[in-house]
Symmetry: C2
Subunit: 477 residues, 2 copies
Amino acid sequence: MWNLKLSESEPVYRQIVKYIEERIRNGEFPPGIQLPTERKLAELLKVNRSTVSIAYDELRSKGLIRSRQGSGTRVSEDAWGLDFRAPDWAGYLAQGAFQPTLPMVRRIWEENRKSTNINLARGEMSSELWPSEHLRVLAAHLSPRLQLGYGDPRGEESLRAAVSGHLAAQHAIQVPENRILITAGSQQGLLLVIQSLLRPGDAVALEKPSYAYSLPLFASAGIRMFPIPVDEEGLIPDEVIVLHRRHKIRMVFVTPTYQNPTGTVLTSERRQRLIEICADLRIPIVEDDAHGDLTLDGSPQPPGPLASMQGAEHQVIYLGTLSKTFAPGLRVGWMAGPTSVIERIAGVREQMDFGISGITQAIAEQVLKSDLWEQNVKRLRSALTRRRDRMVGVLVGYFGDELDFDVPRGGYHIWVKRQQPFRDQELVETAIRNGVVVVPGSIYGAEPGFVRLTYASSPEVEIEEGIRRLHDAFKRG
Amino acid sequence: MWNLKLSESEPVYRQIVKYIEERIRNGEFPPGIQLPTERKLAELLKVNRSTVSIAYDELRSKGLIRSRQGSGTRVSEDAWGLDFRAPDWAGYLAQGAFQPTLPMVRRIWEENRKSTNINLARGEMSSELWPSEHLRVLAAHLSPRLQLGYGDPRGEESLRAAVSGHLAAQHAIQVPENRILITAGSQQGLLLVIQSLLRPGDAVALEKPSYAYSLPLFASAGIRMFPIPVDEEGLIPDEVIVLHRRHKIRMVFVTPTYQNPTGTVLTSERRQRLIEICADLRIPIVEDDAHGDLTLDGSPQPPGPLASMQGAEHQVIYLGTLSKTFAPGLRVGWMAGPTSVIERIAGVREQMDFGISGITQAIAEQVLKSDLWEQNVKRLRSALTRRRDRMVGVLVGYFGDELDFDVPRGGYHIWVKRQQPFRDQELVETAIRNGVVVVPGSIYGAEPGFVRLTYASSPEVEIEEGIRRLHDAFKRG
């Protein structure tokens, strides 16, 4: 935006007019969007304010922009009805059924990309943790019999067999490959479940807080979300009965192990109870197990996934992914569920994207069939343990008892509560001004006062400085 | 007992299943108890015996009841330990908002996979045309600086730059990389456009016939489709005015070059006229150019894409793909449009799948930046030319003037009309029984009498035998 290179062959004000006109016309500056103040634009372009004044005057006289006391200068609502014939893109942008990422989440992600900021926000492993060399070696040894056609919409049979073996070995989940579908990651798994099995108006229950509240996926499909309260042992199963009585719950979404954002582990007893309740009420469960393998060194092994429990094969759709345990950029995950469900979802998949590349499927198959995955998770766990210990240490050092938190036993995140109240929006902005990016709890549907801090995403050496900057931000905020 | 009141809001068999299930569950029908025979229950409920049959079948498949010769039908001994508390999956499968592939299309695709059948159906290059060796070499030389994180939802900047260069060099389409978004192929491009820019009830216009009628994508989003009539020069632009007056068209979908299934090329004059009309009516155009590069040897160069025409940058969303010119299994395509549209769609993308793998993006970048793509398309064009010539030859040889068709100048398909009437469903089945798979025109919304024959998809040596089998099928059908 505003990459206007001024030439000397034309009056500057006219170049500004043309520049803005062009962008209104091609839809880049849609009707209603705010333009910079005259002073700001003058600074940006390093020209006199009066030059911008003249340009804005001309645009106003053409009816392309409007200025109003208090609300600044904006592109006219009817700008496109004027002197050109582009479609009313702004109308289209506003109306589409599917909703984009929340503005605050987008802002956080964009700030994360700036190298001057320390990223304690995004649930993504730091690039120093990527298994780049392993992947390059695997890519260099692809079979000559690579699948380069459209392939099976459930994913290649050999990869599904490898996933089946992986689930049996790692999680005691017994599923044959015809009950498995390869996804581009857990989030696409969620999308497919929602679009294939639910309809607008359906009620679903999910932990509150949950990262799922930050996803417009549910709202885009017209799904109503009802919160299941949680404590330090995870969600309270009996609350599902209460919700069902009131709202007729059609599906339960749950992250039993290293829940995101709270990091809790649902106890064995509660897992059992949840399965029982949902069986009684005949409510299907979608289990997200993205972080389940990331038990930190020295922590107890968590209970097995819901999908490994007796009877669960009829009621649980299980979502797994390589994004948190291997590399998000591979874009490979999986779903296990009843055969009829997998087939229905494969039919939808075929309409959406025909599945993921045969090349990444072949690579993922090698990762899962060799001991590479296990080696890598071992390495990751110790790296994450070191990072968690460091973050816990500096949190205590800087904040003392200003912050409350449980030391997480697995996953990527520490879920902290600050004693002194603060406003989320303000915290985000003050933190960014201090060069650190964090996610406030409200994004995940939490009550006020929480922040999710990620020890996985920044370079390890930056964790301390990140917490120092956050401490600074809180002091100022 | 059996005080079942049948309602009209649900299939009768399902009401019977529910009724019995409920009673087994609450103990009213204990394990081992005998149930009425099918005939008896049918009399009792005044329904068809076949309805009871279906209900009993479903209960049997759930393991809830057992039928044995001589001892009739009983509740299973272990029914209480079984899965009768599983969710009502059938209900979920039936209700999901997103629709799967059409049953006839699925059947055709499944038959295609059988090695005994000759595939003249699927719009996919034969595996002998895959650039497997090139891809393996590229995969063996991935950069150590591979993107393995979540990356930019629009796709990596370097790949978008490569696409920008490709579009300029091959099609005289001038788009900077911020107006480009990487997709997993044209169909995902369509999905993203539909989900991001349209809402239920919107009317769109598209050629009739068009492969788009075979896609439940539109119906899943609640979009109404209105046909634009075509002749041998492609769609008739002025018909858009008529449709708009009647239905308020929100978007036009068009495949100007080597249209699928008809193979027509829209003339320059009509392209100009379509752009003018849509500019006047301010209707955005989605241009699918999947086959545009596949001009067969000796055929005239088609006019440039709509997106290359003056003024089109404000009104055309252009869809391109490597699926038809390189390999479908790479799952890489692109979309070019106004910046604000690309950004809106990137936001939706982020919610759906976070984009495609960094590995396939890196490979696609190398394909487009080197001369590999151009070399490969050259090779493909001569292979496709040979295949078309062979198919045209044997069609004339076997059918004489029983079939009418224009010799295609590009793409994958011959669109034939049979003089003698036939029923589509019957043709498909007879052909399959004869060991050849073809797609009847009705799938694409055509009037009766048409068949789409693909010369790209089977091994070249099988084309003649495929046509011979089709001839046989017609003789018998």
